[in-house]
């Protein structure tokens, strides 16, 4: 069994060599398809992750009816004794301005605004971020005297969640599209190679070759094609992405795109290999159906 497999493996290597020699453009096309997928994956998951992060509320804001520090302290006391409140802190107008300036370092001119433009507020840190808990705190806090408005940005959260969901849908569709592209590239590459060896295959069939004897070398050939295309595309991607992310995106304040994880590498490379095997098998089966008998041209 081992010697049979070794024999077919070696024939697969030869088929791969022939594919590279005669059909190098297909190999380049496959590398490009997988490379583009890496880009879409990183861009898509980075954006979806960022939007998902935005849709997670970690604090609740309580805006007061007037900017009176004494009333605010009373409200703060009432808030602190509510259920599910982990922490609560009062920000006066001065603190609110400092908070805004600290969280918007790129917004020039914010410092020159008068403190009156920054309403005082109380920030609540809930014990958990479940919507039910947040809604309960909002409901209870809004009934406290001196409170004007309580919000954790639910309406924005819903929007961000929807956009994040859209981003994941986009990634899924792109994945299917790229998988189909890879299938067609490999399918056609193998088909071209099969036609190159048409006479040999007919002769093997005549002398009693089984279907696996004909198909397995192509299966190995497609596997090598997929693996090498994946490795090369991944190497090119990393060589392009790391400097671009470190030297352009991060210094520009865009720190949402990360190097794909090892899990992505393992799963996506396996999927590419499976695509190779499937496309090769489909190509061989279709070829053997189309090809005429040895005794008719």
């Amino acid at each position: 069994m081992n010697s049979k497999l070794t024999y077919l493996f070696m024939r697969g290597l030869l088929r791969f060599a022939v594919i590279l020699r005669n059909n190098f453009l297909s190999f380049i096309t496959l590398i490009t398809v997988i490379f583009m997928y890496h880009i879409f994956w990183v861009a898509g998951t980075g954006t979806a992750g960022f939007l998902n992060h935005l849709s997670q509320a970690s604090t609740i804001r309580v805006y007061l009816a007037n900017n009176n520090d004494i009333i605010a302290e009373e409200v703060l006391k009432s808030i602190k004794i509510l259920d599910n409140v982990s922490e609560a802190k009062y920000y006066s107008q001065k603190d609110a301005k400092a908070y805004a300036v600290a969280n918007s370092p790129k917004t020039a001119g914010l410092k020159s605004f008068a403190e009156e433009f920054f309403p005082s507020f109380i920030e609540i840190v809930p014990q958990n971020t479940e919507t039910v808990t947040l809604d309960k705190i909002v409901d209870e806090a809004s009934h406290i005297s001196g409170v004007d408005e309580v919000s954790y940005g639910k309406e924005y959260m819903v929007k961000f969640q929807a956009i994040s969901g859209g981003a994941w849908l986009f990634i899924s569709l792109i994945s299917i599209l790229f998988a189909l592209s890879a299938v067609f590239v490999i399918y056609n590459t193998i088909k071209v190679s099969l036609y190159k060896f048409k006479d040999e295959i007919k002769l093997y069939s005549l002398v009693g070759a089984t279907r696996p004897f004909i198909s397995v070398p192509y299966l190995f050939g497609a596997l090598f094609l997929s693996i090498f295309a994946y490795i090369i595309s991944y190497a090119i991607f990393m060589l392009a992405f790391i400097p671009f992310n470190n030297n352009i995106l991060i210094p520009s304040g865009i720190n949402i795109y990360n190097i794909p994880s090892a899990l992505y590498f393992v799963i996506s490379s396996l999927v590419v290999c499976l695509i190779g095997v499937f496309a090769s098998q489909a190509s061989v089966v279709s070829f053997l159906k189309q090809v005429s008998s040895i005794n008719e041209d």
């Binding site: 010697s3 006479d199 002398v207 009693g208 089984t210 008998s293 040895i294 005794n295």
Partner: protein, 221 residues
Amino acid sequence: MVKFVNVGVSFTGGYQALNNVNIEIKSGEFVYIIGKSGAGKSTLLRLIYADLLPTRGVISVEGRDLNLMKRIEVPFLRRQIGVVFQDYKLLENLSVFDNVKLGLDIFYMKRSQAKERIWPLLKRVGMFEKRDDIVKNLSGGEKQRVAIARALINDPKIILADEPTGNLDMENAENIISVLRECSESGATVIMATHDKILREQYPAREIELEKGKVIRDGVE
């Protein structure tokens, strides 16, 4: 043994290549299939190596009903059959040795092991000296001897030869016939489609004559 019972083959458009053919060829027999072009000689041979299925009737080869045979069993039937064609069907860019080795590749045989089987066979057909020559540089007669070596490499029980001397001069044709007759004398069934009347007269054997897909004569001339 090869047996045809009421065999008919129709192609698309209603063309009947074979019609109600009944023949029985015993093991070790040497049989000529004769008839004009289009009489159905090649179709009859294709049926035997399961390259074609009959539209009607029953074909049995070495005791196996081809109609009932599964697709995955066909390669194992073909390993018992050697086929020789008028146009040789060789891979022109490979050497003589590699062309014959095709028949052993399917058994995953290493080159060194294959040599032990191929060299004596090439000696038998007179092609040993040219074993490393590229096939496209050979003459027609030499190519046909390589094709015969390939057909014989797995010691087939049945040898089918479709006009094997059609492209050869008399001397080469006689060489080919003598190799095929040797095979028959060693116990293989040889079924040879031919037009060549002179050869048939020189090497008489049972003749099955076809005309428009029907057997019109079966016997020794």
